[in-house]
Symmetry: C2
Subunit: 312 residues, 2 copies
């Protein structure tokens, strides 16, 4: 394989993982977990979402969490913002980056944001202006890009139009999200290849869910198409709303381990991530989904048995 030698893993457990948990985690615990994650070598952590407290009560303490953590210059803090009010809160809390949520299909956009895709994009304009005013980096996203649970495949023309409008907004950093795990390696290579050729000025990252067991294969497919920036969640926290107990986010320890085994550097201390994952798995056993926490790393060799009982 002719592949890059390093990738960036963005830890999203404090946002995507926590928001899917039914049990409220205390602000102190969130701060403690994010502080631990900041010491793992991640260059970027998605710490929270500045949504309306009633929409996601778990994240209502977003500002307090950001105020409480020990900042590090080498770790960029990203937050989701749904609207101008959320952006103001994010700026006040001192995030480095904000990410705008957008669905590839109208039906998913209506169910998630109460407005159609291109209507939602129009409302991004004042947000981009406001963020630029405070030197906050704005990234975009395209949820359900590899398949929508309501509409199925998304036409490439529509994806292309979304990319074009992101460029018009001045947003060049776009997360391709397989929100409900409907991607496959062939589809990833086709879509990523097409939009990369159409818009070489865009920088794509991937947000993968392991709902149907293909997340790592999809990451490798994206990687082979030049993507070197992936989201993941420690302990695999973050489920799938359409299928109880189904896997959600690819686990950080699984994607870090997989790429490191392939000879690709992440700059992250896998053993530290595993320790954090074990604690989370112990606390939220039903919501964690991780291979490495169960099986250990490939490099954890076993002692060969000394002899075998003779049979027959």
């Amino acid at each position: 394989m002719n592949i890059p030698k390093e990738i960036i893993i963005t830890e999203v457990c404090p946002r995507d993982g926590f928001q899917s948990l039914p049990e409220i985690i205390s602000t102190e615990d969130k701060i403690e977990i994010i502080n631990q994650l900041m010491n793992c070598g991640y260059s970027q952590i998605e710490v929270t979402s500045f949504v309306h407290p009633k929409a996601i009560p778990q994240l209502k303490d977003a500002s307090e969490v950001l105020n409480g953590i020990n900042r590090r210059k080498d770790v960029k803090l990203r937050a989701l913002v749904p609207n101008l009010k959320g952006l103001e809160r994010a700026i006040e809390a001192g995030v480095d980056k904000v990410k705008l949520m957008l669905s590839a299909t109208d039906s998913h956009s209506l169910s998630n944001a109460n407005r159609k895709t291109f209507d939602a994009m129009k409302e991004f304009e004042p947000l981009v202006t406001r963020a630029q005013h405070s030197s906050i980096i704005v990234s975009g996203s395209i949820s359900v890009i590899f398949g929508c649970p309501y509409e199925g495949d998304v036409p490439i023309e529509r994806i292309s139009e979304i990319c074009k409008r992101y460029i018009d907004l001045g947003i060049y950093d776009i997360s391709l999200a397989d929100t409900t795990g409907m991607a496959n390696p062939v589809k990833v290579k086709r879509i990523v290849g097409q939009i990369r050729d159409l818009y070489p000025e865009l920088k794509f990252s991937m947000h993968l869910h392991n709902t149907r067991g293909m997340a790592f294969a999809n990451a490798v497919a994206g990687f082979e198409e030049g993507i070197t920036d992936f989201d993941s969640s420690v302990a695999g926290l973050g489920g799938c709303p359409y299928a109880p107990n189904a896997s959600g986010n690819i686990a950080s320890e699984d994607i870090i381990h997989g790429f490191e085994e392939m000879g690709v550097q992440t700059g992250i201390d896998l053993d530290k991530v595993i320790l954090i994952g074990k604690a989370l798995q112990e606390r939220f056993p039903v919501y964690s989904n991780s291979f490495i926490l169960k099986a250990g790393k490939c490099s954890d060799l076993h002692l060969a048995p000394k002899c075998q009982e003779k049979i027959g």
Copy 2:
């Protein structure tokens, strides 16, 4: 991707899945499950292993199971045989193919078969002669080829020597087994590429375990290197002896679904496999490991919610 349009999936649950279950399944139930599997469109099923009954009590009824099932001309029945005695039983039971088990490393071979790798291969000679005499197809295997839990990486020189000796034995059909899930896509492409170039006369298949979440990515990597023959186990039955609760065989429904989503035909009725998988999962919930049984197929679309509650 420049890829073949179809693959062969060999169902191994009746052997690899059942042998890992602590609860003995009745002969009648085994026959019933194999009969159901034979109606799914599989062209090949690994029905049992003719090992010593004391080694794997679960499979002691191998002959009765083979005698009881409804044969179909379009489904080849394969069995594992560890020695001449097992081969005689397999021939008497009327299998179409036998597979010889071999470990890539001496430590794994000693722990599994009480003899070193090349000593085991020497004992294959009379088996091949005997099988040819009865027109039984003999295939070989190389367990732990992508990594040994005792020794780690296996040198390519050793893998090459094993391939050479298989050719000397007249065995050209070889299963590359990632017995404890230590492969990754880069390693798969490197090893498969090297041995395919060295021995173009050999036909390789893959037996993948999802221990560390990379089985589907490894299948795709092998597929891109020209492999079109994969083992899998319905409901993902078949665990990992080194890690309790860790995933074992890649689930048939997961690999069939994944490849079909990629536009690759398997000839298998996925819905029928899912039904069998659901029944097995219900009976052995702790031992099954399947994404599709939890999440459903990508094509199972959901109804979009009609409206959303206004917040704030």
